[in-house]
């Protein structure tokens, strides 16, 4: 076994020798990795926050958005270049910390980074700001007067989860609104955010102090409290209980933007189930299940499949099972801990017992394929409420008579809704989107794109950038009242 040691985080202005470092151990197969993460005292955190705040005022807030985009674009170009050392270490170590298959991580990173190139970032800004120049200076408004958007001086990110490089989303958002950024690494993937910070500093040294990447255990103690106390806005990811705990620690005046865990599902219309289209859609659906072993907030847990097509819902479930078996050959599921195995077993056995207890009357629920396979498809011919599976490529397929039947099944869980994948004809798509949107779905994608949100998407139905800024308006009255005070006034 080879053991590598990596120092994570990014702490401008702090002497590494004065920081406490904790080691997080990771191992996959014969590769072991020890990641050193920094634990800052309250005083160190205060100093870091002050430095980031000051540097971003001097160096980031003075850049035009287009210039910032150009810097991010350069950094992303390097992350897309497989010969670049940053890209190489991402490919080498992210599979070790996350456990995900190497090829899955490699493809996932490329697909993800592609959405952060200059063209996409301009679109990202344009999604939220009709006139992106409001981020650079006062712009006239139709009602009269002028308006300018100011990002927070200090934006704190609390990242969570093991989906590789997820921190990129919020960090880019923070940069685009010219915020000073301090992010807390997730213990499950403590690498990427620090690398990205270092890479940005390399690409454009003047902004090297405009961000920092820290860590703390669990909810954190004094260091975390010191940072939270200084934040103008806090972006946090995690379960609702963890989010609630963070919210309680914030002053009421601090803007809090939580992103909780979500529950994705797909809907497949009978119109998509002819003998040509159905297998292709099943393949796409399997990709959505496979990507990051369903750990994404956008990952599907249930596919509702309409009866009446040439391919029955049960047959569709069979195709899906076949595709998952194929994908496991190409992108094996990550090795599971006994706790994950227990969750998978519980879910599978729940299906089995339901089948055994119902076998007397009517069509039974079924588990398709060997229960020991590294994927699992459960099929039910009766309406099943939306509920999470055990993830790790365990998916529920439910036969439905009408697409509208799905709406009351998902409506009770509006708090957990985000992505719905839909395969349906245009008129059906828009009608169903209206119904699902009304009960809480915020993103509708094609089957196969559920796990790859497009650039500029509105995460959890919110405005990624607009939610971060404060608008300052010069009302027309002020503008008019200024006129007589001009040196050229008569």
């Amino acid at each position: 076994m080879t053991t590598a040691r990596i120092r994570a985080g990014y702490l401008p202005g702090l002497d590494a020798a004065e920081v406490d470092w904790q080691v997080l151990p990771f191992a996959q197969g014969d590769q072991a990795l020890e990641v050193e993460v920094p634990v800052l005292s309250a005083a160190q955190m205060d100093a870091l926050a002050a430095r980031v705040r000051q540097a971003s005022a001097l160096h980031l807030k003075t850049m035009a958005v287009s210039e910032i985009i150009a810097v991010i674009d350069q950094a992303i170009a390097r992350l897309l270049d497989r010969s670049d050392p940053y890209r190489q270490q991402a490919e080498a170590y992210l599979p070790v910390v996350s456990g995900y298959d190497r090829d899955m991580v490699r493809l996932g990173l490329t697909g993800f980074f592609k959405t952060f190139r200059a063209a996409q970032l301009h679109r990202f800004v344009a999604e939220d700001f009709a006139n992106p120049k409001v981020l650079d200076g006062f712009q006239p408004t139709p009602k009269g007067g002028a308006v300018r958007a100011f990002g927070p001086d200090l934006l704190v990110h609390n990242w969570a989860g093991n989906v590789p490089a997820l921190a990129l989303w919020s960090m880019v958002c923070g940069l685009l609104v010219k915020a000073g950024n301090i992010g807390k690494l997730p213990s499950a993937e403590p690498l990427f955010a620090g690398w990205f910070a270092r890479l940005l500093a390399e690409v454009h040294p003047p902004i090297a102090d405009c961000f920092a990447v820290v860590w703390w255990r669990g909810a954190g103690d004094d260091g975390a409290s010191a940072l939270y106390a200084q934040a103008d806005a806090v972006l946090a990811y995690g379960g609702n209980e963890a989010l609630d705990a963070i919210r309680r620690r914030l002053p009421v005046t601090t803007r809090f933007l939580p992103h909780g865990h979500k529950l994705g599902f797909g809907v497949i219309s009978a119109t998509a189930l002819d003998t040509l289209k159905a297998p292709a859609i099943a393949r796409l659906a399997a990709w959505d299940v496979m990507r990051y072993d369903q750990q994404g907030c956008y990952s599907p847990h249930v596919f509702y499949v309409q009866r009446g097509g040439a391919v029955s819902p049960r047959a569709f479930a069979g195709y899906l099972a076949g595709e998952l078996a194929n994908l496991h050959q190409r992108f094996p599921r990550r090795p599971l801990e006994v706790e994950d195995l227990a969750a998978v077993a519980r879910w599978q056995q729940g299906v089995e017992w339901q089948a055994l207890s119902a076998s007397a009357e009517g069509p039974a629920d079924q588990l398709i394929g060997a229960s020991s396979a590294a994927w699992s498809v459960a099929y039910s011919d009766t309406l099943q409420p939306l509920a999470p599976t055990a993830m790790q490529r365990t998916i529920q397929v439910v036969g439905v008579d009408a697409l509208d039947d799905v709406v009351p099944l998902v409506a009770p869980h509006s708090r957990f809704l985000q992505t719905a994948g839909i395969a349906a004809a245009p008129a059906e798509l828009f009608r169903l989107a209206g119904l699902l949107g009304a009960v809480g779905v915020t993103r509708i994608s094609a089957i196969g794109s559920m796990s790859a949100p497009e650039a500029g998407w509105h995460h959890d139905g919110r405005f990624n950038l607009l939610d971060l800024v404060r608008m300052t308006e010069i009302e027309q009255s002020a503008e008019l009242a200024a006129e007589p005070l001009a040196p050229y006034a008569d």
């Binding site: 969570a160 989860g161 093991n162 989906v163 997820l166 499950a188 990811y237 995690g238 379960g239 609702n240 209980e241 963890a242 992103h259 865990h261 979500k262 529950l263 994705g264 990051y292 369903q294 750990q295 994404g296 907030c297 990952s299 847990h301 801990e337 006994v338 706790e339 994950d340 195995l341 227990a342 969750a343 998978v344 077993a345 519980r346 879910w347 599978q348 056995q349 729940g350 089995e352 017992w353 339901q354 055994l356 207890s357 076998s359 229960s371 020991s372 509920a387 999470p388 599976t389 055990a390 993830m391 009770p412 869980h413 708090r415 957990f416």
Partner: protein, 362 residues
Amino acid sequence: MHKVTPLVADLLEFIAMDGCTDEQFDEMALRLFAHQFAANQPFQSFCRLRGVNARSVKSWADIPAVPIDAFKALPLRCEPPAAGDRIFMTSGTTRGGSTRGQHFHPLLDVYDLSMTRNFAQRFMRGANRMPMGILFPDEVAMPNSSLAHYLDLAKSAFGASGASQTFVTPQGMDLDGLWAALEAAERSGEPYALLGASFSFVHVIDALRQQGRAFKLPPGSRILDTGGYKGQSRELPLDAFYTELSQALGVQRTHCINMYGMTELSTQFYDDGNAQVPSVKSGPHWIRSRLVDPVTGRTVPAGERGILVHCDLANFNSVTTILTEDVGLDAEGGFLLLGRAEGVEAKGCSLAVEEFVRATAA
């Protein structure tokens, strides 16, 4: 009252023996399996689903392990329901769901013999009777609790008459009564036994701390805790729990014994004190355990963590072999109990079952 069948008579004899060979264990396990396979339709269907029939089981480890959730979904019983049945139910607190698992006992002879034989050896350690305090409601208050029955049986079979008492009712704990009993034990110098739910002991620790007092029970006194905190008290790590318990009552950690039992079983596991945690748990000769990958059901390689499967021959009316949700690790003379199989949360940003159930139960 239910009649004792020849199978049950043989089982009682088996439990009464001083020990057994592997062959004897397998023989009894296979007899019980054949009986349960024939008499319990849901179990038979489950076995067939696993590709197992009455003839393919050669040893206890071949018996398909029934997941404990099945006790919620289906009646797992061989004897038809009768008026005199005792039904033990799971607390249903662990996952918040409202469905409770049910374990049907047409007669308690086997359960009681299993309990007393094992308890005499592992907790009484040769002592005959002792004054006992029970920190859990009795079985009149909680007729469906296997723990209430277990503790009542401990009190009636091993508690010194007149000096043994239950201090908990569904209304709460009689702390004044408990303090009086503990003071009396201190004065008498005779060993005292305090038994109950782990969370009740946390309440005792907290109450003593609040009042700024502590007891020093006489040498030979002992404590039995079981069942964990179940959200009924503050949660503290095992090591802290036994340190605080030992300080509060003056009982050495070697005499603080933890019982590991389940509603779905008829036999308990014990450790030999908790000087070190996690302690090694073991059971008597009529129960065997193995560690499995819960998805495949296969025994994990030596030295790896796995989910515990127990084959309890005293489970004559339900199923002998159950798949728990407890993570274990092999240890000299038994196994280490590493906790429940949780922790699937927080890997990614997709909603996990545990959080979903908590949220929808709230």
